[in-house]
């Protein structure tokens, strides 16, 4: 098997060698070129592929100079193909074209030198439109300068929505971190927004998108937050700092002097992705490198709030609306009414206090509770619901208006929202305390977790002069007397069980006695049917059968049975009585006189007569 394999390997090597030797005699080299797209937009790249077949290498231009286009060779790949032992090879040169402006561009024919031969590629026309490529807008947003161009692997960007803000106002902000997808960037620390004089909302989970910035694709993580200035004045926000780990190709030990500059290397720095590692990632290993990322700072001009704030202004800044409702609307004096005020809009909900009651006279007010339902990621937009419990101390027809003041940074003035009075009906009159007390069966109705709603009695009831019986707070099952009391039914149960068991035993003894008598009777009858018994034995057994049968019928001792008892028990006629008496007399006679002793057998007719008599004894 191994010999066969060896031969097969030799044959394969020879075939390949032959094919390789024939390569020189193969078809002459040829060149083809393909443009990935003839239509594109400014900033969007297209690929140009020049394929040289029939050659291992070729001399192609590293750069193609066209005004308005930046064309750079980015990768080279080689293919080998074997058909019927005919090996062919080709080499493909990839160019990336970055349009810098719109227009119709002609990519002229390029010369490709293969040895002494010189071949030319076809000519191409590329239409570049001015359509937006996401990068342009993205980098212009906010005030922070885009950092994408400064670093080629990753960038950080701080986008603040406003240049001017008021003290305490919530200003939306975005932190954007972009990574070249080929670098497989992973965030290790941050991002952190440094600076003084403002507070920020907690950063939410980032949104991940792919964006093209400066003709280059980035994986962008966008963190949303909001900045709230804590003091007036002009101050810097940021920079945003983060630390990421990226994958970089290993640098060759020898310097690459002849390698041309990357088209994206705007600052004449090395573009690590020009490295062949990225066109042939299995050719060498990459290394993970920690990369600090830092954004530009943003400037925010913070103005103080105007001085003429309304009395009930509590610091709310934004744009809000308010709705008010009251429930229930038909109550007694002293009953609680829940006032629900919902403030919705956009602003600093965290500094917002509830609306104030304009006229608190005649009302008892409890501290309000609030809950916030946000509509966005950072809590700038949403609705905050304030629930206040009011109890009317007197008759009322409406819940007084509620007012809520805030500062509108757009209008640059204070706004006071005022609700309409909510009509309600408050029944007056307090139920007298005596009435409540006299109704002994009245159990306080379950009330909501609010002040006790009830008709307010005039006064408490009288003192009691009887001290009454001492009671325990402990539950009955926690007292020893309860468990001791359980012994009573337990003992009753045990007594009942014992009595029942004894009865069963007695019943069992009686049954055994009856069974013994029945057995004895049957045994004696069997003996009587035999002919070998002496007259004494025969009559003795016969009278015994009569006694046993009578004992079974009357549940008495067989020894206490005489002829008369048998006759009465079985209600015998005169003839049977006479025969029975004769039987008992003969028995006594034979037993006590001894005249019947001997082996003289009893006549058959006599035996039959006795047997018939005994069998007739049935209750």
């Amino acid at each position: 098997m191994s010999i066969h394999k060896r031969y097969l390997g030799i044959i394969l090597v020879l075939a390949l060698s032959l094919a390789a030797s024939r390569r020189g005699f193969a078809a002459s080299p040829s060149v083809t070129a393909v443009l990935s797209n003839s239509e594109t937009a400014v900033g969007e790249t297209v690929q140009l592929e020049i394929k040289v077949s029939g050659a291992n290498s070729a001399n192609v231009p590293q750069e193609i100079s066209i005004d308005g286009l930046q064309i750079q060779q980015t990768a080279t790949s080689r293919q080998f193909e074997m058909r019927n032992f005919d090996v062919s090879s080709s080499v493909t040169y990839n160019y990336t074209i970055l349009p810098l402006r719109s227009g119709k561009f002609k990519i002229p024919s390029q010369t490709v030198r293969i040895g002494n031969d010189s071949l030319r590629t076809p000519e191409f026309v590329l239409n570049v439109t001015s359509g937006s490529s996401g990068s342009a807008g993205a980098t212009q947003r906010g005030q922070a300068a885009p950092a994408a161009s400064a670093s080629k692997l990753a960038f950080a960007e701080l986008v603040v929505a406003k240049k001017d803000a008021y003290l305490g106002e919530m200003v939306p902000a975005e932190i954007r971190l972009g990574f070249d997808p080929r670098a497989h960037g992973r965030l290790e620390e941050g991002p952190e927004l440094s600076g003084q004089g403002f507070t920020t909302q907690k950063l939410q989970q980032p949104r991940e998108t792919m964006e093209t910035i400066g003709g280059r694709t980035y994986q962008v993580y966008t963190f949303k937050t909001a900045i709230s200035p804590a003091r007036a004045g002009k101050f810097e926000i940021g920079p945003v700092q983060a630390k990421a780990v990226v994958l970089l190709p290993r640098r060759p030990s020898a310097p690459r002097i002849n390698r041309p500059r990357s088209p994206f290397d705007l600052f004449n720095m090395d573009d690590p992705f020009s490295d062949p590692f990225f066109s042939d990632p299995f050719g060498s290993m990459g290394e993970r490198t920690e990369l600090p990322i830092r954004s530009e700072t943003a400037t925010l001009n913070v103005k103080p709030l105007p001085p003429n704030a309304p009395q009930n202004f509590s610091g709310a800044i934004g744009s809000f609306s308010m709705t008010v409702d009251a429930k229930p609307k038909n109550v007694q004096v002293g009953d609680p009414i829940t006032i629900t005020a919902t403030v919705s809009g956009r602003g600093n909900f965290d500094r917002m206090n509830g609306p104030a009651l304009e006229d608190e006279h005649g009302w008892h007010k409890y501290p309000p509770s609030s809950k916030f339902k946000q509509d966005d990621d950072v809590g700038i937009s949403g609705e905050k619901t304030f629930e206040t419990v009011l109890a009317p101390n007197e008759k009322k027809t409406a819940v007084p208006p509620l007012s809520f003041a805030y500062f509108d940074p757009v209008k640059e003035n204070y706004v006071t929202l005022r609700s309409d009075p909510v009509p309600i009906q408050v029944e007056g009159g307090a139920a007298p305390a005596v009435a409540a007390a006299s109704a002994a069966s009245v159990v306080p109705a379950p009330t909501p977790a609010t002040p006790a709603p009830s008709a307010k009695p005039a006064d408490i009831l009288y003192q009691l002069n009887d001290l009454g019986r001492v009671r325990s707070f402990a539950r009955i099952y926690a007292r020893s007397t309860f468990w001791i009391a359980q012994l009573v039914p337990l003992f009753v149960l045990l007594g009942f069980s014992g009595w029942k068991i004894r009865r069963a035993k007695i019943d069992n003894r009686e049954a055994r006695r009856v069974a013994g008598l029945q057995q004895e009777s049957a045994e004696l009858l069997r003996k009587l049917r035999r002919s070998k018994l002496s007259p004494q034995e025969y009559f003795s057994n016969a009278s015994r059968v009569a006694r046993v049968k009578t004992a079974l019928a009357k549940n008495i001792d067989p020894n206490a049975v005489d002829a008369e008892t048998v006759a009465r028990t079985f209600d015998l006629d005169e003839n049977e009585r006479a025969r029975l008496r004769t039987l008992f007399e003969r028995t006594d006679e034979l037993r006590y006189s001894g005249t019947g002793n001997g082996d003289k057998a009893l006549a058959r007719d006599d035996r039959e007569e006795v047997l018939n008599l005994l069998e007739s004894l049935r209750a």
Binding site: G334, H364, Y366, P367, S369, A391, A433, V434, A436, A437, S438, A439, A440, V442, V443, P444, P446, T447, P448, A449, T450, P451, A452, S454, K456, P457, D459, I460, L461, Y462, Q463, L464, N465, D466, L467, G468, R469, V470, R471, S472, F473, A474, R475, I476, Y477, T481, F482, I484, A485, Q486, V488, P489, V492, L493, F496, S497, K500, A504
Partner: protein, 247 residues
């Protein structure tokens, strides 16, 4: 057997009823006189002494509640009325005055659950007695069924019914004992006590409770208690700001 059940039931009810009788106390009469004379401080002092002497009667707590009410100490007044009702849930005067005191104090109440409300037809003690009776009836029926073949079917049906009543009564007892009026019930005695998110005076406030408000103590850590509050809230309160109803 029927007679045995009757006897057992009677005994259990006797056990369930108050076992001790307070002697006529001169101090109680004296306190009442002080109250009638308007000396509510002295009256409350004397009532408290009787409480310390473990003369725990509903009427004593009721009178004590009245004395505190007159002193405008609504928290302790409500606490005393609650104690009177814990000893005698049907005490009509305590029920009436408790409502008055709560109105005055604007005290907050805990909400009993729907199930608790349904089960409040009887007290936990009554449910416990019902459970005991049902248990013994069930046991007697099972034993009788073992000895009596003729009535076995009826006895087994009776034992199943009794067992069901036993289970329901045990559940009701357990539920009420852990519910709003269970052992953890306490009344806020401090004025406007703050319930907080953590065991620190500087922690965020959950709710401000007027004196007399009900809470249910869930846990205690040092000088702080963790309690279920009205409005379905929970928070930490200083232990000295509330007193448990059951002594």
């Amino acid at each position: 057997m029927r007679a045995a059940i009757y006897i057992a039931s009677l005994l259990l009810f006797v056990i369930g009823s108050p076992v001790a009788s307070a002697q006529a106390s001169p101090q109680f009469a004296k306190a009442n006189q002080e109250y009638a004379a308007g000396d509510f401080n002295a009256a409350s002092r004397d009532y408290e002494e009787l409480v310390r002497a473990r003369q725990d009667t509903p009427n004593l707590f009721y009178n004590l509640g009245n004395a505190y009410f007159r002193k405008k100490d609504f928290g302790r007044a409500i606490l005393s009325y609650e104690r009177a009702l814990a000893l005698d849930p049907r005490h009509p005067e305590a029920q009436a005055n408790l409502r008055v005191a709560r109105d005055e104090a604007r005290a907050l109440e805990l909400i009993p659950t729907e199930l608790e409300h349904l089960l409040s037809l009887a007290t936990p003690n009554q449910y416990a007695i019902a459970a005991a009776i049902a248990f013994w009836i069930c046991t007697f029926c099972v034993v009788a069924a073992m000895f009596n073949q003729a009535r076995r079917r009826g006895l087994i049906a009776m034992s199943i019914l009794s067992l069901s009543i036993f289970a329901a009564s045990v559940f009701a007892t357990w539920k009420l004992s852990r519910g709003k009026n269970g052992a953890g019930l306490a009344v806020v005695t401090a004025e406007n006590a703050d319930a907080r998110l953590a065991t620190a005076d500087s922690a965020n406030r959950v709710l401000t409770l007027p004196a007399g408000s009900e809470i249910q103590i869930l846990n205690q850590r040092g000088d702080w208690i963790y309690a279920a509050l009205p409005n379905n809230l929970r928070g930490w309160m200083p232990a000295k700001s509330a007193e448990q109803v059951q002594l």
